[in-house]
Amino acid sequence: MPRIVVDVMPKPEILDPQGKAIVGALPRLGFTSFSSVRQGKRFELTVDGEVTEEILAQARDAAETLLSNPVIEDVVNVEVVEA
């Protein structure tokens, strides 16, 4: 069954406290090549049947209204992934 993947990231200008904590933990495990981490969210919306333009438009709408808060987050990707 096809899925629509929606990726949401904190806006660049918003401090990401979780990413900051992760970047602090990485060197303790020997991962020293990463200067910054930002943590986002990935949503997978399963569609029963074919993904039409209308369904994709619905997914984009849901991404902007419920899945993300435009004050603090950007929807960075909406794409169809065949199972």
Binding site: I14, L15, P17, Q18, L67, N69, I72
Partner: protein, 258 residues
Amino acid sequence: MTELPLIGEAPADASGARRLAGARIGVVTFPGTLDDRDAARAVRLAGGTAVELWHADTELGDVDAVVIPGGFSYGDYLRAGAIARFAPLMTKIIDAANSDAKLPVLGICNGFQILTESHLLPGSMIKNDHLKFMCRDQVLRVENSNTAWTLDYEAGQEITIPLKNQDGQYIADDKTLDALEAEGRVVFRYVGFNPNGSRRDIAGISNAAGNVVGLMPHPEHAVEVGFGPESLDGIGGSDTDGLGFFTSVLNKIVGGAK
């Protein structure tokens, strides 16, 4: 929710008490709400009548104001307040708050998060800058005493009420923050210590009309002598510094058109 408080006394002035008891303050319960009982209790201790409201209700009913209490509605899944915002009752509350009647609405902690997700208040809350849940007695300065929920305070007055949250860092872009400051819509500021990294020490804000107020700290936990901040560590306050929120709105309701 008509039982009398176990502790605390009704207002001494009997006719005044009857007048205030005629004011009905709705308290909303979502799945995961924690502080609805305390909020209803605060309404009663202030002399009003608390009315239980359920998130799935499709009608607001006969209430003169609404409190959206704290907790973890829907487990804070997705974002704090994000799912609660689309509950059937919230649609009614948003309409009533924006209507000409300007229903007074107070959002406390998770309630504040729900109000920002509802776009009744600007900005948003993200995780505390230190990443930890924090619970402490917090000093606030009342910056605006003209909102429906702060009329019984003096501008500049400092109050001490409990604060307890994980996602309490108030953020908005500079343009929004400048507008809030210019319009006097920063209602409360943290004093002495910013517990979560909130921009410009903002603890609470209002909408343009002043009927909708949201803040992270908890006035409903500071309404009874012997059970407020002062009895814990003596950092100030009077144990009942939060009661003014509820007396403010009650006095406004009984003194107004209703």
